[in-house]
Every structure is written in C-alpha cells, then in structure tokens.
Symmetry: C2
Amino acid sequence: MSKLLPPHGGKGLTVTLLEGSERDAELKKAQGLRKVEISRGERGDLIMIGTGGFSPLGGFMTREDWKGVCENMLLADGTFWPVPVNLSVSKEDFDAINDGDEVALYFAEKDEFMATMKITQKWEKSEDDKKWECETVYKGQGEESADDVFWKIAMEDHPGVQRVMADKNYFLAGPVKVLSEGDFPTKFKGTYMRPADARAEFDKRGWGTVAALQLRNPMHRSHEHLVKIAIEVCDGAFIHSLIGALKPGDIPAEVRIECINTLIDGYFVKDFAVQGGYPLDMRYAGPREALLHATFRQNYGVSHMIIGRDHAGVGDFYTLFEAQEIFDRIPYAQEGCPDPGKALLCKPLKIDWTFYCKKCDGMASMRTCPHGKDDRVILSGTKLRKALSDGEPVVDHFGREEVLEILREYYAGLTEKVEVKMQKAASGADMK
Amino acid sequence: MSKLLPPHGGKGLTVTLLEGSERDAELKKAQGLRKVEISRGERGDLIMIGTGGFSPLGGFMTREDWKGVCENMLLADGTFWPVPVNLSVSKEDFDAINDGDEVALYFAEKDEFMATMKITQKWEKSEDDKKWECETVYKGQGEESADDVFWKIAMEDHPGVQRVMADKNYFLAGPVKVLSEGDFPTKFKGTYMRPADARAEFDKRGWGTVAALQLRNPMHRSHEHLVKIAIEVCDGAFIHSLIGALKPGDIPAEVRIECINTLIDGYFVKDFAVQGGYPLDMRYAGPREALLHATFRQNYGVSHMIIGRDHAGVGDFYTLFEAQEIFDRIPYAQEGCPDPGKALLCKPLKIDWTFYCKKCDGMASMRTCPHGKDDRVILSGTKLRKALSDGEPVVDHFGREEVLEILREYYAGLTEKVEVKMQKAASGADMK
C-alpha cells in the first residue's frame, strides 16, 4: 500500500497518454483530422495533462473553468486549481471547427502530432477578459504590480502576461488523447519522469512524506540547504527541475541537470534525494504558480512543496514571501475542508531566505542567523554570472566548487560561440 | 484566540497550586495534618502536578492508573500517559493513614510543606510489581537491556530503576493542593516557567506551532542545529532545560542555563527562541521518557517535541533511535484516534544524529551528509570533559567558543574545589 498522498482531485492519476497499438491507431486517425497548431507552452501543458501531471484535468479548460480559476481558484466542479490551462487557436481554425468535432493538435516546430482533441466547447476571451486574467492571476503585491505601474511594464517585462496577451482570442475546450511526450523522454533520459514513475520510485523507497524543490536556476548551496532541511523533516526530497522553456538568458536544463547530479553525487545521501524533470514552461506567476507547483507536485506523490523567497517570481511583480502567504488564503484549505477530494492536500514547506554566514559557520536563514550583512555571503545573480563568465573565483562558501566548474565551462562555451560569431563576422567583412 | 495545542487530556490546564490567602489558609491547615515525607523526585512530580505541567493529573496515581500506564500507557480513564507518577510512603505512615484522610506532604531537605493531599486509595506494590514496572517502563532494546544482562546491572547503572526499586512498597493516591514550587522560581528566576507562563509567552508572539528541545546537558552546536531546523519549520522553538536532579557528574542547571543564554544572545534570532526550565528529575527512561517529554510539553503549548539520538537514555539500555520509533506505536496515535481528547497531540520532530562536517562545510546529519568519519567533528563526552577540565582547546566547529569558555570556568572551579579539599585534608593530617 502506497503511503503517498493521493493525486489531486480525488480521481487518481487521470492519464490520457496513449501507448502501443492504441497510440498507433490514434496517430493514424490524427493524420486525417483538422490540424490545429499549438504553441510550445501549450505543448508543455498538454504533456502534463497526458501523463496525469495535471490530474484531474483531462483536457483544456472551458470558459466556466477558466473564469472560476481566475476568480476563485476553483474549476467549474469546485475542485481547487490556481492557474488557467487553456488552448487558443486562430480565427480560421475557430470558425472551421464545430462543437463535437475531433481535431489533431500539432506542434509545428518539431513537425509532430501531439494529441487528438474532442471539442466540447468553443469560447472566446475579449481583450478585457485577457487583461482581467492578467490582473487576477499575474498581478501581485510587488512594486511593479502597483496599479499605476503594472500595465506600463507588464507587456515588456512579464513573460506570463506576454503569453496571455499573445494568445489569439479564440479557445477550444475538451478532452485530449495525448500521442507524444515530445523529445523530453529522450533528451532528458533518466531525469524526465511521469507522475507514475515518481510515485513508483518513492513507493519503492517506502516514503510517505516527500518534499519537492522547484528549480529553474542552477542549484547552489542555498537550494541545497532548503532540500537538506526538508530531508530532516520528511522521508525524502524530490529535486524537480523545470525542463520546459525559460526566459532568455536563463541556464538551459541540460546544464542545470548536470549541476544537480554533481551535487547529489558529492553532497547528498542518495537514499534521501531523487532528481526529476517536468516539461512545463515557466509562467512566472509568483504566488499563483507556487500553488500550481504544489498542485501538480501532489500528482507526483509530493506532500510538501518547498516555498522559499520569491518563488516563481519575475522582476519586482511580487513581494519576497507573497508565494508563501497565499497558501494561508486558498479556498478548500486542508483543515475543515467541506469536500476533501477537491482540496489541495500538498502543504507548503515555507523556508526563509537562506545563505552562508561566517559567524554562524554554516548555512543559515533570516530566521536562524542574528548576524549582520557583512557576515553573510549573499551574491546577486548578476555578479555570479559575471564571475563565472570571466572565469574568476566565486566568493567562498557560495556554491560547491564542482558545480561552479560546470557553470564556468558553460559560460566559456557561450563566450567561444560569441567569439566564433565575431570572427566569422570579421572575416566575412574582410572578404567583402 | 490562542493558536497553540490544548493541554493534554482535554481538561485544560489542571492547576492545583494555591496562591495568596487560599494558600496561607491551606498551609496553616497543613501544619496540623500528619506529615508525610516526600523524596526530591516526588517533589518535582508534585510541582509539575501543581502548575498543570502534568495535566490532566490532579494528584498521585491509583494502582489502576499505575498498572494501566505500565502495561498500555493509559490511565484508568483511558487517557494516554507513558510513565508512572506515584507517591511511596513508609510502612508507619501507611498504617496510620486511612482512606479519606488528609495529610501534609513535607520535603525535609528544605524543611518545607509542599502540599496537602486527600487520600482516595492506599495501595501496595510487591517486589515483583516493582520489577515488572522496571521491565515494562525502563527496559529497552539496547545491549544492557538484554534479558540475561538487565537485572545484573540495572540496580547499579540505571538511575530510573534505582528510583523505582528504592521506593518503599506502600503508596498513597489522591488529589493534591500544592503549596509551593520550592526554590525553583527564585533560584531559576527568568528561566523557570509554569505552563501558563510559557503559553502566554508563545501567544504573545502569535505562535501556533512550537518545537521543544529537551536539554539536560550543555548546549553545543549539535543541539543548536536541531533547534535551528525546528525554527525553519515551526513558528518558534522552546529550549526547555531540566532543572531538577541529574546523575552525579552531570553539569548543574545554573551553568547550563548560562550556556543557553550565551548561545541565544550570540547565535539565535531572539524572535524565534524562548528558554525555559522545568523542575523534574531525570528518570532516564529513554523511549517512555521521550513520550513523557512530549506529553508534558503539550501542556506548555508545544506542538513538536524534538527527538534526537538516544533521547533520555542512559548507558546502553536503549538503542540510538528507540525513542523516535516508540511514537509510531503508541495507543491513541493522532490519526484516527477514537477519543481525541485522550490522545497525545504533540508530535515528535525526529532528527538524526547531527555533527559538523568539513566537506559539507557546516552542520549536517546522517541523513544529509554522505561523507566519511574523518570529515566529521564528533567528540565523545569523555574527551570533551577532559579537554575542558585540562583547559585545552576543543576541536574546531564542535561548540561555540563563548559556551566552551563558560564550561572551562566551571571545570576550573571544580578543580579548585578539589585542590582546596585536598589541601585541607593534607593540613588536617599535618596537625594530627
């Protein structure tokens, strides 16, 4: 008997990914259906729906789901869900499709049929609807979310808002049959995991409580410290990286995974740490995304979602601990929930800002270290990137040397590419 | 509204300590009652009963309570309780007292009336009963608890067994009215706290979850690390020292309290750590005492009892983590308890063996550190005492220098006392 939390929504893992001959037949059928193009972000959502990562969702949302989620974080049937998962299509597709039709969802970049979908509802968002969605889901309490600032900069600086506003205004809802997980299983072999894989791994280890660390940046000692606190109080930890798309300039997943492997090899007791990857793109929705992280992590068997400083944030749209606080205000909170099957069961493991402190002689947080700024090793991302790019030493105790070495190599490669480009440009100029 | 756990047993804090004119009148009455002498250990239990620290106990146990506690960790009314709290008297007192009598409980060492008691039951333990009590309550799974070893050494080496076996075989049960907290409030001013004081302090800070550290030894970095882990996952920590009697050779409470004050001053954020003391003597009952620690800590408002390595153990009577494991096997466990009012609500916060590790570059535990023995700073009590007594440096990273300095001074004082004694003895010999 598994000791793990059940999947979210009370329906088990709602897997719609087909395999074997069933998949072959559906793929053949797809080739004869109307081809609807999906974006990279929608492809990530689709794979999560397919593997049961987004249980209990079995497809893209209706207008009622979308509205309830934006407004109250509840699906139309009352199940907790914090962020819209919807499919936008062109006006041309929208007009050509009728309720009840089946269509093929196609990802052009990889020339791949990703799913078939049975249309149960065609619905629209006005420009005002989209703005309202951005304001309810993406606007926080940070300086850049102030009423007189938000719309002046969000279209430039908030990738989640950009994604919502870039959508065409036409949407399709309905259940999907997923045909592919894209290149994730091959490109990230050994790291990419379906929820059922993660659950099997945790069950094998006899775990009941599992803490997850969300990662989209290289894992330094502050992250290591979060996970190690979690390992003291839970049966084990799941270091779970986003392997979908990020902002430009962020470190690619392959490099980040190598950093994590190196850290686990050198600094973790392997019995208590498992690495995995999931195929979503970042939405940078801060508090709402922290809730989404906890929601889909529950499907992977996670009981405690580590929420640190500025979780899933971008710029100054959110305050530092807004993503922790929102867990105290969600509908269907665990205690005294009228319908426990619809509540989020995965709990936040809230941890303060962590750093190395020389006087503490080890890692500490704002809750445990009484010392001053000068005793603490805190390094901005900008300074870290500069040191790594320039091949300079990084201040002591900030990261593990083995991990910094991987990042130095990555940045050196980048520099080489830039140099090669510049040389090519220069020699091209000479030849003219 | 307090966010703290309610006291154990569902009856609130059952305070029987009298104050003001009520106390004056009862004290006057006590002086006219039969004087029954109590031991130092019984005095500690009595003060805990008086302040509500032992809620819901309102007095010393009946034979039925005692038997249920030994056998099943349940009082006669079904309430969870892990260790007997009983009052043994001389044959002479026993014969002179009748059911329904009132007596005065008197602590001869301090010439003080501690309580009045209404006798509801006179009961006896045979020698076999006492042995059975020792075997059910004090015998563990360690090497020294093996069937062919236990009784060969327990009378010599186990202070808890000694206490049970030293009791006369005659017992009195009944409710008490407590007249005094002895010298604890004055001798340990600022540290000694009643459960209501601790609750008021936690309420003032707005805490809901409070982790307690049990201390009977000086607080080194391993203890500091336990508390700091707890501070990350609870609202705050209660560093709660035993200020009753210990084994010979252990460090007195005054010195330990100074060490803790120094640590809190230099290495804790004061918002998140409170120091307190409680008047019990150690029983060294290992797992059963760990449960007692959690039970009475709940009365102080504690939600999570930190249980580390060999909690409340002595010699090799218990295995290293027996005191953690017993929490999984207690009757009336929290989940699915038929009568939650009778269950222990305070949960264990189980933490593995902790130490400084050079490769980890900070504090770690067996669950987080994959490195070898040579990388870890682990110091036996014997070696530590030798270094401190000899005024030699203690290996790096083991303790905080400010704390070690206090202990060095204490040991230097001891040495001086011994030297003075030897000089006196020598000069005495000269004078003969």
